[in-house]
Amino acid sequence: MAKLKGWRELPIGGLIVDAGNAMEYKTGSWRVMRPVYTREKCIDCMLCWLICPDMSIIQKDGKMIGINYDYCKGCGLCAKICPKNAIEMKPETEFQE
């Protein structure tokens, strides 16, 4: 993890001025189940993108690209909501080296 800063280096008042820097914290390591995405079945309905609590569905210009495994926590909501079963939850262990 990042080196801890001394009191002289921090902005005053406990402020965090670097908006959105939570992205430096990769929550993907939390995963127990991994969503596996099949492009061929997808109809780009955007529902999974809408509800993913971790903003880990990647889309561009209304077209699904895939899943951001750096942050995906494997909750399975995307697989649940997909009307075309284009996402399947598999144990994360299948993907470990």
Binding site: A22, M23, L47, P53, D54, C75
Partner: protein
């Protein structure tokens, strides 16, 4: 203009609530915040957020990280409405005095859990609504003090297992009914108040839009399952709230300055028992000798409450209390 998902996906610029927050997998709170920000973005508004102490606040801003890309303030537990009153007033004054440019309209959203709303935050919320500040208060209701480990709140339903009102051999958990927060807020008369459920997200987003456009205080109570303490599977937040709507546990309706409108009338209702049996937090209750009595009482209650809503809808149609 209801949000068209695919069109919005094309124009959506950047996530204003980012990944990297530490809420539990499958938690409804980030979905609730995210969707509200989507609606605001779609309407072209800038947003300033105030957040009461609780799961959402704590897990999105663990120093030195913040998952928010909008201006955001956490003050204390019980005062998010008072805090946002100050921010909103400052905005109006500075705009009037010319110290802020009037080109982009800023909307003020307060997020709070049931702890910071039903109980300790009620005074502050009531005061802010009475004063008529122009803000949207979104309550993510997970029916307990979940951030600190499942203590009971004024929002906890009877029979649910909480650490401070546990279902034991003698006492079957919390005996009091859940406070009807939307009725309390509707009593302020000048308000747009509504219930919503994350499982019915289009209805929720429509209400957020209506609330943001509403001139004055607005309040949306969103049923927000806690995966951990409702003891439900990670991927079930949406389904369990849909079930809550279908069992009349959480009817979806709005009160616009006294006019009641039910926004979802399920064709088929399901018995409350189904909702209860689907959650681990009621497991201990189901084993208790008083279980069927409590469940029957709850069924009666939700039935009567639904009937009452139908009557109110009929009686208040086109008859707002305030303009």
């Amino acid at each position: 203009m209801p949000l068209n998902l695919v069109n919005f996906a094309k124009v959506h610029k950047e996530d204003l609530l980012t990944s990297g927050h530490r809420l539990c997998p499958g938690c409804a709170a980030p979905m609730i915040a995210k969707l509200a920000l989507f609606v605001a973005e779609n309407l072209g508004y800038d947003v300033v957020v105030a957040n009461a102490t609780g799961c959402l606040e704590v897990s999105t801003t663990i120093f030195p990280f913040t998952a928010w890309k909008v201006p955001w303030i956490h003050n204390a537990f019980e005062n998010v409405a008072a805090t946002i009153s100050g921010v909103e007033t400052a905005y109006r004054v500075l705009r009037r005095k010319g110290r802020i440019k009037p080109d982009k309209e800023i909307k003020f959203i307060a997020f709070a859990g049931d702890g910071g709303t039903y109980d300790i935050g009620l005074q502050s919320l009531s005061g802010a609504v009475e004063r008529g500040h122009d803000f949207l208060y979104i309550l993510y209701d997970n029916e307990g003090y979940m951030n600190t480990g499942n203590q009971r709140s004024g929002s906890t339903p009877p029979g649910s297992y909480t650490t401070t009102a546990p279902v034991g051999k003698k006492i079957p958990g919390k005996l009091q009914l859940k406070k009807n927060i939307v009725e309390i807020m509707a009593g302020h008369e000048n308000i747009y108040a509504a219930t919503a459920a994350i499982g019915e997200f289009m209805d929720y987003m429509n209400k957020v839009e209506k609330a943001l456009k509403f001139k004055g205080p607005s309040f949306i109570a969103v049923l927000s399952p806690c995966i951990r303490f409702w003891r439900i599977p990670d991927d079930s937040a949406l389904d369990i709230t849909k079930l809550a709507v279908e069992t009349k546990y959480w009817p979806l309706y709005e009160v616009d300055r006294g006019v009641y409108r039910i926004t979802k009338k399920p064709r088929q209702f399901k018995p409350i028992k189904e909702f209860i049996e689907a959650q681990g937090r009621f497991r201990t209750l189901l084993k208790h000798p008083m279980a069927s009595e409590i469940i029957d009482e709850l069924q009666e209650y939700v039935d009567r409450r639904w009937e009452r809503l139908l009557i109110l809808e009929e009686a208040t149609k086109d008859k707002p209390i305030t303009k």
